[in-house]
């Protein structure tokens, strides 16, 4: 782990003040083997595929949207795992930007769904076929 033998600075102890049990488990984990990065990437791939299944199979627009958020979270997990693997903060920075963009996208997308619901009284994607040629 990162803080082998170093002091905890004020900012790095921030999550431990909220989750005090983590302090115990993280100190203990220093002597145990770490999970290889492949496992994190495979978990991220599984979550991504579950999100894809949701987008393809469900017809409720809001649940499709939630599956897209699930896919974004899977990619965030992949970025953080690789950031830890290579010891570079760039991965976590990309996660920061992905979170901001996903929040903006969720706000605008839900506003669009609200507007559509006002005119068509449905959120079923099969019935939103005005543009079908």
């Amino acid at each position: 782990m990162a803080k082998r033998g170093g002091k905890y600075s004020l900012f790095s102890s921030f999550p431990f003040s909220i989750f005090p049990f983590l302090r115990f488990s993280l100190r203990r984990a220093e002597s145990e083997t770490m999970v290889p990065t492949h496992y994190h990437l495979i978990l991220s791939a599984i979550l991504f595929t579950i999100g894809t299944m949701g987008v393809l199979r469900r017809r409720n627009t809001i649940i499709i949207f939630m599956s897209v958020e699930l896919m974004l979270n899977a990619v965030n997990l992949s970025f953080v795992a690789l950031a830890q693997h290579w010891g570079s903060m760039d991965g976590q920075l990309i996660v920061f930007f992905v979170m901001a963009v996903a929040a903006a996208e969720a706000a605008v997308g839900l506003a669009i769904i609200l507007m559509v619901f006002r005119t068509k009284e449905t959120v079923n994607a099969d019935e939103l076929n005005l543009m079908r040629g």
Binding site: S9, L77, A81, Q92, A103
Partner: protein, 168 residues
């Protein structure tokens, strides 16, 4: 993070993700997604991503999912009976995703020796994942994406208000 913690978190996460996708009621789907995001935040804390883990709770579980739940309750969505796709689309979606997951697991699990992710036990730099380390990168090399993201958030907020207001 040791293997037992990883397995417990992974099983809970995959179970909640499947519940998001499968459950007929939108409210339960949203709550399962909140569970997935909270578990991901715990995951990030174990992976030395302290700021990102806290932000995951604050932004995703605390703002985005609350927005989803507001919209679900505003539209008063019930459990939809005629919900899923026709059967041929369902089957091809299942086959597609089976191929996708097989391909991804093969590739990310080593790629037949092509993916060179040597398990380096290198020492992470001091203060990795703290607020200081993130800000150091964010405000020096990434200041332009940062400013553009703030403009993007402003545009999104204004756009959402304009789109969702009642037509006068």
């Amino acid at each position: 993070m040791n293997l037992l913690t990883f397995i417990i978190l992974a099983i809970l996460m995959v179970g909640s993700a499947v519940a998001v996708v499968i459950h007929p009621s939108p409210v339960y789907s949203a709550l399962s997604l909140v569970v997935v995001m909270s578990l991901l935040a715990v995951y990030f804390l174990f992976l030395n991503a302290h700021v990102v883990g806290a932000l995951q709770i604050i932004v995703y579980a605390g703002a985005v999912m609350v927005l989803f739940l507001f919209v679900i309750m505003l539209l008063n969505l019930q459990t939809d009976s005629r919900e899923t796709q026709q059967s041929e689309m369902k089957m091809s979606a299942g086959i597609l995703c089976a191929v996708l997951i097989g391909e991804l697991i093969f590739l990310l699990g080593g790629g037949g020796g092509r993916l060179e992710l040597q398990t380096s036990q290198q020492q992470l730099p001091e203060g990795f994942g703290t607020m200081q380390a993130l800000s150091e990168r964010l405000f020096t090399d990434f200041v332009l994406p940062f400013e553009i993201t703030s403009v993007l958030l402003l545009v999104a907020a204004v756009g959402a208000v304009v789109l969702a207001r009642r037509q006068a």
